[in-house]
Symmetry: C2
Subunit: 359 residues, 2 copies
């Protein structure tokens, strides 16, 4: 088992990474303050791991909430199911919520924990590669609004993140690729050596080689923990974690949540960010092509959907959370391994990037 | 104008108290970070003060949200109107929300500010006595759930509280009494001298004598600020601010939100807390009777509704946010001016208190 820490003063918390952690009661117990636990999961993950986790937590007053699977349900109506269960079973302020599932479950459970009785504890138990390397760490929680992804939420840190790598065995190849999008992101924004390693090992990673995947998760979590510790509430540097996400969120919203996986949209979005960085002359064609090739190697799309026009992008990106005083800001690359958040680009270059995806 | 500070480190903020502050642009400007402002109010307050506040803030990109009036609308459906407006008008993370109205508007606007794009700034401009002396200060925000009052929300501090005492002129007498309930509360829990002063001046306060009301607001805010500074997230002492509220919330929920005003329910609830403290032998009959007399002097009910049974109370109090590990905790008085949060009472005494209200 590997252990990392997200350093946030009194809100610091550990990340545990290893195989079979779901069954280790002693990992959970120190992070459960009261007698009441509510496990939140979805109808894909429940048949696989819910019973096992309940056995691990035998003796607590346990509630379970099984939500419908997918980004399309990441909304207030679904969130209400968590609150209804908590209130019906009289969960008090000392309750601990446990998010058992992918990014959608983690984001919704975290937001529910932040709101319920003005805040109760929660633990992240991510079961997909994407949530293990990204969304379970850092305290971003929330739900979608029809007008924009993750528009409602809170910065609210978990008490612990418990990553059981054994849960990846059940993951479909498409979801493995989606998770690799965020892994590649860390290389592109912060660590060229890691990107080299990913390029060399991509086929084994897609095949879920246990040791290599564990290494990829640990390095990804370490980079994320470092960036979050430097800027918890995204006043500055944390925004680099959104490389490809402004384009990607627009793709997800335009296609309808759940049509493209988040990681797939981020893959195409990162390819667009590479393309735009090249157009601005910040990186050369070779670096751009290499970045795009690695994204493709992971089995991810590198162009936006053909049905999406530049006008669609402009409209949907206007509500991005990085917009400030009416000005769009994007995460772009000054070099492979060095991202910046910037509004320093001309409209023509942005338009060319958006049009490039549109035949 | 008087000025107090709520001392919360980097989240510290000022409370300004005076007549005509709604028109003083220079009071607002330092607490508005961006160009965008969204004023949230209700259809009772809007015709009275919305235009004036818009004039004061001329030059900002202003949006307005006018919600239906009352506790019955303090729910997610109403909250959505705020989010819909913010997104439709493309409000970004540097937006400032302004809550113009009573406690319901303040609680909902604060919660909306805490959630929108994971948190934007907000300013409290309370227009009722109750919100000026209590709910606008301290960062408790939230909405009701059918199963319990304020069950969903956040601790989220405003950037400033701007109390324009001129707005009290439009307040109906019933709302004045409701506000005085919270003013009396501060005397009962923390300051017997203030309670003496309230008793001596109650008729003038009900008549909204400007100087006396301003003094009452300032002393109330000072006590609240002190308690909140000591315990922002209600880990301990802050709970004494809930004297009478556990009984009161049950009354509000049982009667249907909005039937009894919050302050009226708190009045009856404080009378019950006084009665129970006497039954436990913690205060004597004279102190109890005096407390109840002052509540009645303010024009408030001192008994729960006749249609409400002890069973109703037990059922509704079981979801109180002060319940921990299945045990109900109440705010009771060890003396006039000294409140404690305690689970140290026998069921028979509680039952006798609940039954006393039920003929």
């Amino acid at each position: 088992m590997q252990q990392l820490t997200v350093e946030l003063g009194e809100r610091s918390y550990p990340i545990f990474i290893g195989s079979g952690l779901l069954e280790q009661r002693e990992l959970f117990a120190p992070y459960i303050a009261g007698k009441q636990v509510c496990i939140v999961t979805d109808d894909t993950v429940a048949p696989l791991y819910l019973d096992a986790l309940c056995r691990t937590l035998d003796g607590y007053q346990l509630s379970r909430v099984v939500l419908p699977t997918g980004e399309a349900y990441k909304n207030w109506t679904t969130l209400q199911q968590i609150f209804d269960t908590l209130l019906a079973s009289r969960h008090d302020r000392r309750t601990t919520l446990i998010a058992l599932g992918g990014g959608v479950i983690g984001d919704m459970t975290g937001f529910a924990a932040s709101c319920y009785q003005r805040g109760v504890d929660f633990i992240q138990v991510p079961t997909t590669l994407l949530s293990q390397v990204d969304s379970s760490v850092g305290g971003k929680t929330g739900i979608n609004h029809p007008a924009g992804k993750n528009m409602l939420g809170a910065f609210y840190q978990p008490r612990a993140v418990i990553i059981d790598t054994a849960s990846l065995r059940s993951l479909p190849p498409r979801e493995v690729s989606a998770g690799l999008a965020e892994v590649i992101k860390y290389g592109l924004i912060r660590d060229e050596t890691f990107l080299d390693w990913l390029e060399a090992n991509m086929q084994e990673l897609r095949g879920l080689d246990h040791d290599l995947v564990t290494q990829a998760i640990a390095r990804s979590c370490a980079i994320k923990a470092e960036v979050v510790a430097a800027d918890e509430r995204e006043g500055g540097v944390r925004a680099i974690l959104n490389l490809g996400h402004t384009f990607g969120h627009a793709i997800e919203a335009q296609q309808g949540y759940g049509q493209w996986l988040h990681g797939e949209a981020v893959g195409a979005g990162m390819a667009m960010a590479l393309d735009m960085s090249r157009r601005l002359g910040w990186i050369d064609a070779a670096a751009c092509d290499r970045g795009i090739r690695i994204i493709a190697l992971a089995g991810l799309p590198v162009r936006p959907p053909e049905t999406m026009t530049p006008q669609d992008f402009v409209r949907l990106m206007a509500v991005d959370k990085k917009v400030l005083d009416g000005q769009l800001r994007l995460v772009l690359l000054e070099a492979i391994g060095k991202a910046v958040v910037t509004a320093e680009f001309d409209t023509e270059t942005l338009q060319a990037t958006l049009a490039q995806g549109h035949p």
